[in-house]
């Protein structure tokens, strides 16, 4: 589903958190929302999810979006915050079934349709064998997949993920992003994911929304922002880059004292260890 924002503005308690946000995202895109701390990434995701009130227009497939909670029959967005709860005593199956909460019957509970959706989500995320385990016993990576399974169980068209890889190591980060990309392609989802990890996201995302101080300073093809001058201005620090074997750039902050690259720094550390 294609979505388009025109002049979105978010004001909370008299403070303007976001303004002049305009973008157009093609259906099925993998969108990286990037920007320094306090740029408004979380605010933007929450606004799109309907958790914060905004002014301006947000249009999905030519129709104004009613937000997350207004249309119970078809949930357009699934939002996963960066700091999700891990409730004590709750099994993984129960946790993922909460993704069906807005659809299941208030008094009589879940239908077979709800169980089917949860089973499919568990299978896709390879979590089915752990359905009866307590979520408190899952590893960080499994828990991150569990939040994704819960999002899939909502059967939404858009996945809104707020820094989902912030607590994952290098390998789990790449695995997780790969998984999101695979699901996006298989299910035709549009993914909007905020992150600080530019070096990882450039392998998967195809579109970038760049925020700074509550404003959208750039939106477009991800490759268009992969320039060290642009990113240095964005993060207000000197950045440099090298290329990996495949050709993806790897950005790093320059050491202000001796202007060395990561490789020479590594060498220095190794030498000192000897």
């Amino acid at each position: 589903m294609e979505c388009q924002a025109k002049d979105l503005k978010v004001v909370t308690n008299g403070k303007t958190l976001l303004q002049n946000i305009s973008f157009k995202i093609p259906s099925g895109s993998f969108v990286a929302i990037i920007g320094p701390n306090g740029a408004g990434k979380t605010t933007l995701l929450k606004s799109l999810a309907g958790l914060l009130t905004f002014t301006g227009n947000f249009i999905i497939n030519g129709k104004p979006s009613l937000g997350l909670l207004k249309d119970k029959k078809r949930v357009p967005f699934s939002y996963t915050p960066q700091n999700f709860s891990i409730p004590a005593g709750m099994t993984l199956g129960e946790y993922i079934m909460l993704g069906r909460a807005s659809r299941s019957n208030w008094f009589f509970g879940e239908s077979q349709r709800d169980y089917d959706a949860v089973n499919v989500a568990l299978e896709r995320l390879k979590l089915f064998p752990k359905a009866k385990e307590l979520v408190t016993n899952l590893s960080g990576g499994e828990m991150q997949r569990a939040t994704l399974a819960r999002a899939l169980a909502q059967e939404a068209d858009f996945l809104l993920l707020d820094e989902p890889t912030a607590s994952l190591d290098f390998a789990r980060t790449i695995d997780f992003l790969q998984l999101i990309d695979l699901l996006r392609k298989q299910l035709g989802l549009t993914v909007l994911l905020s992150t600080h990890d530019i070096n990882s996201i450039i392998r998967f995302a195809d579109y970038a929304l760049v925020l700074k101080k509550g404003k959208n300073i750039h939106s477009g093809n991800l490759n268009s922002i992969l320039q060290k001058n642009f990113l240095s201005d964005l993060y207000e620090t000197k950045l440099d880059s090298i290329k990996d074997k495949i050709g993806y750039p790897i950005f790093y902050a320059k050491n202000h004292h001796n202007q060395t690259s990561p490789n020479s720094k590594k060498m220095t550390l190794l030498e000192s260890n000897d």
């Binding site: 929450k46 999810a49 958790l51 997350l68 909670l69 119970k72 949930v75 967005f77 699934s78 939002y79 996963t80 915050p81 700091n83 999700f84 709860s85 409730p87 004590a88 005593g89 709750m90 099994t91 199956g93 129960e94 079934m97 909460l98 993704g99 909460a101 807005s102 659809r103 299941s104 208030w106 008094f107 509970g109 879940e110 169980y115 949860v118 089973n119 568990l122 089915f128 359905a131 009866k132 819960r150 909502q154």
Partner: protein, 343 residues
């Protein structure tokens, strides 16, 4: 995947068995020398429309039908009310220490009852006596006071909780002062404070039943929302929950049913805190299981405790709050030891 959030049949059957057991023991046992089997037979005959039992005289009939039976039903309703209110508060405030008296209703009810006892003011209307009316007004007044203070401090669950603590501390201080100035009434006041079930026929049962049914239904309907509240507020909202509506409905229902229950039974502590935890530790942590099983378990537990309280030193009676804590605390401590961080 197996069914989730559904009532496990075994746990449900055990709770129903406990209710039946508590009912039979409550009706068959007591200070009056009626053979337990005859009591039970008479009750079955009565429900089948056959009132002819030569071994049961008119006095026995009154003891069984107008005293023991309503006392069992009242005990069940009070226990069930306190347990669902405790579960509701624990869900809304995400606090394992939450109990039905969290927002000051116990302190308010205690002050109301104390004032009525020491001043001998007549507040009775209909079949409801003055102490019950005073306790109800005190409980509702205390919670409204806490809600008013909370409203000026941001209307968050945390501010309501703290306002409840402040209100309870103030009202308890007032009550202590009044008791200290009226020491001749202390025994009567303590007798009420520690809780007891005294019935005058079916009046108290008919008073509590509609409140219990309405509040139980509403809290159960919102149990799915209570499960969502176990997540963060943003997650809850993003999954279709409405935390504000849940706070209002569950807190209102829990407060109302607690106020009516304590006005009839006095301050029976422990049940509202512990029964939901026992269900949580032994059956499920989902409120869709905790709420109905707490109602059955709390009702059965209080009825059994009441039978103990009036038979153990018959014809005298022990305060029921002593029995609930004396029997429940060791069992709960044992479960807590097994839980290993599950609460």
């Amino acid at each position: 995947m197996d069914k989730v959030f559904t009532l496990p049949k075994t746990a449900l059957l055990i709770c129903i068995f406990l209710v039946v057991l508590s009912g039979i023991s409550s009706i068959c046992l007591g200070a009056a020398p009626i053979p337990p089997i005859e009591s039970l037979k008479y009750l079955f005959d009565f429900f089948l429309g056959q009132n002819q039992n030569p071994r049961i005289n008119e006095i026995d009939r009154i003891i069984i039908l107008e005293w023991r039976l309503p006392r069992f039903v009242l005990g069940f309703l009070v226990g069930a009310s306190l347990a669902i209110a405790g579960a509701g508060f624990q869900g809304v405030f995400k606090n394992p220490l939450a109990d039905p008296f969290l927002l000051g209703s116990a302190a308010g009810a205690g002050l109301g009852a104390t004032l009525v006892i020491v001043t001998s003011v007549n507040l009775s209307f209909g079949f409801v006596d003055s102490i019950q009316v005073g306790a109800f007004i005190g409980a509702m007044g205390a919670v409204l006071c806490a809600a008013t203070i909370s409203a000026s401090a941001g209307r968050t669950p945390a501010s309501l909780l703290l306002a409840g603590v402040a209100t309870a501390a103030f009202l308890t201080a007032c009550q202590t002062y009044i008791m200290q100035r009226n020491f001749l009434s202390i025994q009567e006041i303590f007798g009420w404070l520690i809780g007891r079930l005294l019935t005058s026929g079916w009046t108290e049962v008919l008073t509590l039943t509609p409140y219990f049914l309405i509040c139980f239904t509403l809290i159960y309907v919102f149990s799915k929302e209570l499960d969502l509240l176990r997540l963060s507020e943003d997650e809850s909202k993003s999954l279709g929950g409405n935390p504000t509506r849940t706070y209002i409905v569950v807190i209102t229902c829990s407060t109302l049913v607690t106020a009516v229950a304590v006005s009839l039974s006095g301050l029976i502590a422990f049940i509202g805190l512990v029964i939901p935890h026992i269900i949580r530790l032994t059956v499920s942590s989902s409120y869709r299981v905790i709420i109905p099983l707490s109602a059955l378990g709390g009702g059965a537990f209080l009825s059994l405790a009441d039978t103990f309280s009036r038979t153990i030193i018959a014809p005298g009676e022990l305060p029921i709050g002593v029995i609930t804590a004396f029997l429940g605390a060791p069992f709960f401590a044992f479960l807590l030891r097994l839980s290993r961080g599950a609460i």
